[in-house]
């Protein structure tokens, strides 16, 4: 690279990984070569949504030449999980969803492995199944986890043994019962969302090698190598230091590669064929229901405001359909619970958020982590309240949205943000308030707005660490445990390291792949936390390295380190104006006068960051000093058209504005905003469909359609405001998930503006819109 960028923080420097990606040389998990000793795995999956496993007969499969091993639940007796250890690695006494792995085959080729999988005979005894989360809470509903009470669980999650409820979060603030009487307008609604899937373009791939020595390696596309190591080590009884997780570039994660899904199957299968790496690949169909999905939700929400438009009370119940195993899901229900007001100040709140077992694929982390699901209903009710009291929906939000310093629903003080500025910019960009003509007589045009908030949903103590090392030529290697999923983590980390060190951006490399053997610890690449948390660790590591350098050079010059600076890779003194390039001295140190000894040596900077201020919340009220680290807020305004002859919706413009604290790389933020807007829009039309027996009807790209190039809005106006985050590096906070949260409700509000019709259930479709139009005409 010929470029030379000083002070890169705040500049739209090119992505650090873009060259490899445009040449096709970037290595993804399936690209890694393992040589002729590589074996291949295939999973046998339950065809039933709920069934006892009576018998597994692998005799015929084992007789097939080339088959090396077959693994079943009997071989892997422990559960796996993060917050709630509820999931068997291979089904043991029963299968709980269509697609659950029941056995794993290892063979010398994928073909033989597949053939052998067909030969395994499993005897099932079907059990009644339940698919609706509300149904699943009723007495008499099939019980998925009779042993719920025996599962190890994090101390902030509260399952109800003897039921299908894996988490119940309660929020009690003020007094809703008396507050309703003071409301001039009350709106109540039930909102339903189906399961949807991440659909990363790269399906999951895992390769594992279990050596006779006890060293185990897992190569996989992972957002969280350290979390995967932790969970797999515990469930397979491998000492942490013996398990190595390596993650090359990730071809899209969106939360689906954040935890453990199929990877632990690969490791279990590798154990059965020690010395041979085993590759397990998901077909696209398996990717849909055999990895993880976004939970379904049934939300009952009631909100009231006074005649001046001040929000007074909210009562809400969330029933998240968490699927057969609720591990990550319980934290989603919790996060939804402590965020249930949306970004609003509501003095009286009664919220109950449940995570519920259902006989469906595993609900888990997906971009937004509960926020898209709950804002779908909240943002529509806000519009309805505004309409009832005769207020513009944008003004209603300006009035009621949470402001810096206010005491929010958990009792925490809202850190500084500016949601009003986001609303102002978003509405301006689509000419809010101006009624514009549709493009044809049979079309109707409408505009809608939605706002959002989200906090990183984490345990109270998630840590990041970073190492900054110099090379002889003063280029820098930054080691982190965080992953670049495409969001640009490596780029901003390099920018921050360069800025804090005083070297050009182009001198910095980020060490890839992330490898638990060499990379420093990172809790997980989730929660839009990397710019903030890993950024802090990298900044600290860079400052540590800088301090070391200045001390050495100051000693060499007989000066005070405080009078020295590093700029563009050169140390200089403010006092004497002497200069010394970093090259060489960052490894070799500096000789004393007349070579009477040396100072310094190889410069290695280290840093870490872990928030220390998050507190637990009261079980009965959800109140606590500090529920979360911070919130990011934003607004989206949408201008769309509906074709009344077909029901088709065309989005004309999306304006999307977020308070990012500090834009480390402004253009990368805009690319996140654009991608998020399209993902949010697409998600409104997506749904996994099942038949009455719980069998998936559309686990493929033909019948589960995601937005293509011809579906995108005609214009996307992305923008941001910067209200610094107190403990963010240069004030930065995350935005990667937030950008898709309000799109669906903003669309619903725009459709209402166009047609006068509300949609409380997702997915949207041309058919649904058309049918609603027909009903309205007839009615």
């Amino acid at each position: 690279m010929a470029e030379f960028t000083s002070d890169p923080v705040g500049k739209s420097v090119p992505r650090i990984d873009i060259y490899e990606k445009v040449t096709g040389s970037a290595t993804f998990a399936d690209d890694m070569q393992f040589g002729p000793g590589l074996y291949y795995g295939r999973l046998v999956r339950s065809p039933h949504a709920h069934a006892l496993i009576r018998h597994i007969d692998a005799t015929r499969a084992l007789q097939l030449p080339g088959v090396k091993a077959i693994v079943t639940g009997a071989d892997v007796p422990k559960n796996i999980g993060l917050y709630l250890i509820d999931r068997p690695i291979f089904a043991r006494e029963r299968a709980r969803y269509v697609g659950e792995p029941v056995a794993g085959v290892v063979a010398i080729s994928e073909e033989i492995s597949h053939q052998a999988a067909q030969l395994i005979q499993v005897e099932y005894e079907e059990l009644p199944a339940v698919f609706d989360p509300v149904e699943a809470t009723r007495p008499g509903a099939p019980l998925l986890h009779p042993d719920l009470g025996a599962y190890k669980v994090a101390n902030f999650i509260f399952p109800e043994p003897g039921s299908n409820i894996s988490e119940h979060f309660k929020l009690r603030r003020g007094n809703v019962d008396t507050a309703w009487a003071q409301c001039a307008a009350i709106v109540e609604g039930t909102f339903r969302l189906p399961q949807i899937q991440h659909v990363p373009i790269e399906p999951h791939v895992a390769v594992s090698l279990w050596e006779a020595s006890g060293q185990v390696t897992l190569w996989t596309c992972s957002q969280s190598p350290f979390a995967q190591r932790d969970l797999i080590a515990q469930s397979l009884d491998i000492p942490h230091g013996n398990l190595r997780v390596v993650s090359p570039y990730v071809g899209g994660g969106f939360g689906g590669k954040a935890g453990v899904s199929m990877e632990v199957c690969a490791v279990s299968m590798a154990r059965a064929v020690k010395g041979h790496p085993v590759k397990l690949r998901m077909t696209r169909e398996e990717e849909f229901i055999g990895t993880t999905v976004r939970q379904s939700l049934v939300a009952h929400t009631k909100i009231g405001c006074d005649s001046a438009g001040n929000l007074l009370a909210m009562e809400t119940q969330y029933y998240f359909g968490g699927g057969a195993y609720n591990d990550y899901g319980v934290n989603i229900a919790r996060a939804a619970g402590y965020s249930c007001t949306g970004p609003y100040l509501i003095p009286n709140v009664k919220g109950d958020s449940y995570c519920v077992y259902t006989n469906q694929p595993i609900g888990s982390a997906m971009r937004g982590f509960g926020m898209p699901e709950i804002h779908w209903g909240i943002e529509q009710i806000m519009d309805q309240l505004a309409e009832e009291i005769g207020m513009d929906p944008a003004d209603f939000r300006r009035r009621n949205c949470v402001k810096s310093g206010q005491s929010i629903l958990t009792g925490m003080q809202m850190p500084p943000i500016d949601l009003v500025a986001c609303i102002d910019k978003a509405t301006e960009a689509i000419d809010w308030g101006k009624r514009e003509l549709a493009s044809a007589p049979h079309k109707r045009r409408g505009k809608g707005i939605a706002v959002m908030w989200k906090a990183p949903a984490m345990p109270p103590n998630p840590g990041s660490a970073a190492i900054v090392r110099f090379n002889e030529d003063a280029t820098v290697n930054v080691s982190i445990g965080a992953q670049d999923l495409g969001q640009g983590a490596f780029t901003v980390v390099a920018q921050m390291a360069a800025q804090a060190l005083g070297v050009p951006y182009e001198w910095v490399r980020v060490s890839v792949p992330v490898d638990t053997k060499y990379s420093p610890y990172e809790w997980q690449t989730v929660a839009s936390r990397i710019t903030w948390s890993t950024g802090n660790a990298v900044k600290a590591a860079a400052e540590d390295a800088r301090r070391q350098i200045l001390e050495i050079v100051a000693g060499h010059w007989g000066e005070n380190p405080q009078d020295l600076e590093i700029k563009d890779g050169v140390v200089f003194s403010y006092r004497t104006e002497e200069e010394l390039p970093l090259k060489g001295m960052v490894i070799y140190g500096l000789p004393n006068e007349n070579f009477e000894g040396w100072k310094g040596g190889p410069i290695v900077g280290q840093g870490r960051f872990m928030p220390t201020y998050v507190t637990n919340l009261d079980f009965e009220t959800g109140q606590g000093t500090r529920a979360v680290v911070h919130y990011t807020v934003g607004a989206q305004a949408i201008d769309l058209e509906v074709d009344t002859e077909t029901g088709e919706v065309t989005v004309l413009r999306i304006a999307s504005v977020y308070d990012v604290g500090k834009a480390i790389n402004p253009d990368l933020i805009l690319t996140q905003i654009e991608g998020g807007a399209v993902h949010g829009m697409s998600s409104a039309f997506e749904a996994l469909h099942y038949d009455r027996q719980g069998r998936p009807l559309n686990p493929n790209l033909v019948d589960y359609r995601i937005a293509a190039a011809t579906d995108i809005p005609l214009e996307i106006h992305g923008d941001f405001v910067e209200t610094p985050l107190e403990d963010g590096p240069w004030g930065a906070r995350g935005v990667g998930e937030h950008v898709m949260v309000p799109t669906a409700p903003a669309m619903a509000n725009a459709i209402y503006d166009a047609l006068g019709i509300r949609f409380s259930d997702l997915p949207l479709s041309a058919e649904k819109v058309f049918r609603a139009l027909q009903e309205k005409q007839e009615g």
Binding site: R42, R45, P47, V98, G99, E110, E111, H114, R281, T283, E285, E286, G290, E645, T646, E648, F685, H689, R695, L697, N698, P699, N700, V702, D703, R705, A707, A708, T710, D711, S765, A766, E767, F770, R771, Q774
Partner: protein, 298 residues
Amino acid sequence: MFARPGLPSFDYVRAREPGQVIELLQKHGEKAKLLMGGTDLFPGLRDGAFHPRVVVDVKQLPGIRDILFSLSDGLIVGAAVTMNALVAHPDVQSHFPLLAEAAGAVASYQIRNRATLGGNLCNASPCADTAPATLVLEAQFILYGPDGERSMPAGEFFLGPGRTALRPGEFMTAIRFPLPPAGVAASYQKLGRCKAGDLALVGVAALGNPDPSTPSGYQFRIGLGSVAPTPIRAWAAEEVLTCSIPPEAAFSLAAEKARSAANPITDVRGTADYQLAMVRSLTLRALRQVGAGLKEGN
């Protein structure tokens, strides 16, 4: 239950002349599958719908990739002509724009470089994009088998979802399109679940031309796709358009008749009710477009 990784094993034979194909089809019956573009074959192989012992590639048969046109004989399209080749051909664009429009509506550019006209028709999916156009253009399908060559009108070829009138040992070699009447205008309307790239949820191919022998002075042909076990002609709708009533009223009535002709099923892609309503909407659109084209022609 889930599609397998990669393809199952089979023998691959590249046929050099038609007799070879017939021999293999007769020898292996159901266990031989023909390969042209593979865009229906490959998914079927992965799904387990087909378990062929031998896959016979017919793309090298003489003429099967050719497009021939003459003003006297019309258009002859080899069965293995790809959708993109059809769309790009100047004679197709000039004289059979409906066919170009229908072929161009299939999936994506990449798929259209492989998907063939013959394959689309012989797969006989009710939602095949090119099928309504062949009905409306009154195409003849050229079939070749143990008893030699025969020609069959498109309307007799489709028997049900995935079922055609091909006899054992027979395969399609070409599709012949007679030159449409003078002054013709046509339109293919397709509704998918998204703007492009999808299968047809509803497909309507409409064609109209001046015809002094009818009261209205025009003749129309309407083909419906994806809304019945086979692609169908909307005869009653066509009848309406020969009557002497104002065009907009005729179009509206014809669209209603087209809706009555349809018999869609509800599945994960859409309900029967919606598809019926869309037959009406799309037929109306197609007819209006044809009407505008006819006016222009005058």
